[in-house]
């Protein structure tokens, strides 16, 4: 039974977008801060810090999670996927990211990393969503710029392209 003391930093190892990373965290450090400040992966954004806005949404072991509602030490040994893992290579966008650009599904871009992670996950398990499905699913995210309409259009467009065989690779 490991007991990690409050006033020391402890080694946290995880797989980030397929790459092994490690860093030190106090038990109280949130995964958002660990990713951004310790690892330097600043793609995951920090909004409300209490699980409401969805900007920090990532995948932990293949399931969606709010990074701000996760302690870094809880994520020790897991496999984490963040927005940095979406593009197939530098300079190229995934099908979903390209749809966001075409549809102007972002303005300030603050909420975008979380929404991309959620929709990427969702479209893999729900290839044929209706507009209502996407609206319902987006309920877990706040966007203060777009009014959501272009985000929904981008998601439906990406879903159709993915069904027609377009891939991220």
């Amino acid at each position: 039974m490991p007991r990690l003391s409050a006033d020391q930093r402890h080694c946290v190892r995880l797989t980030l977008n397929g790459r092994a990373v490690e860093g030190e965290a106090e038990p109280r450090m949130l995964l958002t801060d660990f990713l951004r400040h310790v690892i330097g992966a600043t793609g995951t954004h920090v909004g409300c810090e209490h699980g409401v806005c969805g900007a920090c949404t990532i995948e932990i072991d293949g399931a969606l999670a709010r990074a701000c509602l996760t302690l870094a030490v809880q994520a020790d040994g897991t496999s984490v996927r963040t927005v940095e893992g979406l593009a197939p290579e530098p300079g190229r966008l995934s099908v979903l990211q390209a749809a966001f650009r075409r549809h102007h599904a972002l303005q300030c871009g603050f909420c975008t990393p979380g929404i991309l992670m959620s929709l990427d996950h969702y479209l893999r398990s729900h290839p044929l969503p209706t507009e209502t499905d996407v609206r319902e699913f987006l309920g877990g995210h706040l966007c203060r710029c777009t009014g959501y309409v272009p985000i929904i259009a981008a998601a439906l467009d990406a879903a159709e392209r993915l069904r027609n065989g377009e891939t991220d690779a």
Partner: protein, 275 residues
């Protein structure tokens, strides 16, 4: 918003959990999915000395059938129960209420027992447990006990769990032939906390109506075979007896009116589902 300092213990066995809970005398907070605890830590509304992670204990994983009961272990996430292949066949009411718990993004992490442990008065899982007359399994180093949902929820985020007890599992009775179920809630947006939520279970003898979001805990009442205007009067009396809260989102009178409206809708729907 950053949590205050705490020690973090990742328990490998139930015995370790019981030891830490006993040793810390109420200064330890159990973390499972963390969807309620982490915000409380970040806002410093909770300042435990120790955060005790129970997610890697094999005995707490899994959903099982124990006779006519669905037993959900403390490490079972809400999404896992919602995706359980037998859910709708075994307990239709759970299949109706679980999609209303938070958002897909929080159900993927939040646990079923964690919601019961928090005892938010507007939460759907405590409401369902009460509507179905479920039970909470508590354990310590010394032994185990089961507490009926009716006795477990004692007030605003206050339960019958003692400081040294762990919620090991919760138990939902399976649906029985001839029962009908219905659930509705009213919130500003889907996924928000319910202003009022109502669940009904109808059988040959009557209807049990459970109401959340109104008083400081979920409240249930059984109505025996009421029709037409009798039902209206009974609901009126029930709504008046509830100690309705008033907050930013709704007045007490508005909540009572929602109980009358939603209560009637779910009772009628549950009765129709029986047929």
């Amino acid at each position: 918003m950053k949590p205050a300092r705490f020690d973090y213990v990742r328990a490998d066995s139930l015995a370790e959990v019981h030891d830490v809970l006993a040793a810390e005398c109420g200064e330890a907070a159990v973390i499972a999915g963390g969807q309620s605890l982490v915000p409380l830590l970040s806002m410093r509304m909770a300042r435990p000395k120790v955060v005790l992670d129970i997610m890697r204990i094999p005995e707490l994983a899994g959903i099982s059938l124990d006779g006519d009961t669905i037993r959900v272990g403390a490490a079972v996430r809400q999404a896992e129960l919602l995706a359980w292949s037998q859910l709708k066949a075994r307990q239709p009411l759970l299949a109706l209420t679980l999609p209303w718990v938070g958002h897909a993004q929080t159900r993927a992490r939040g646990t079923v027992c964690g919601s019961v442990a928090l005892a938010d008065p507007s939460a759907e899982i405590p409401l369902t447990l009460l509507a179905l007359r479920g039970e909470v399994e508590l354990s310590t180093k010394a032994g185990r006990r089961r507490v009926a949902a009716e006795d477990f929820f004692q007030g605003l985020m206050s339960t019958a769990r003692a400081d040294d007890e762990l919620i090991e599992a919760i138990r939902f009775p399976c649906g029985r032939p001839g029962e009908g179920h219905a659930f509705r809630e009213f919130a500003r947006r889907h996924g928000d906390f319910a202003i009022v939520a109502c669940a009904a279970v109808a059988d040959g003898k009557g209807v049990r109506l459970a109401v959340g979001g109104v008083a400081d805990r979920p409240v249930a009442r059984t109505f025996a075979g009421l029709g037409g205007s009798m039902l209206g009067q009974a609901l009126d009396a029930f709504a008046h007896e509830l100690e309705a809260r008033e907050d930013l989102h709704a007045t007490a009178a508005y909540r009572r009116e929602l109980v009358r409206q939603l209560g009637r809708q779910v009772i009628e729907e549950a009765r129709r589902c029986r047929a």
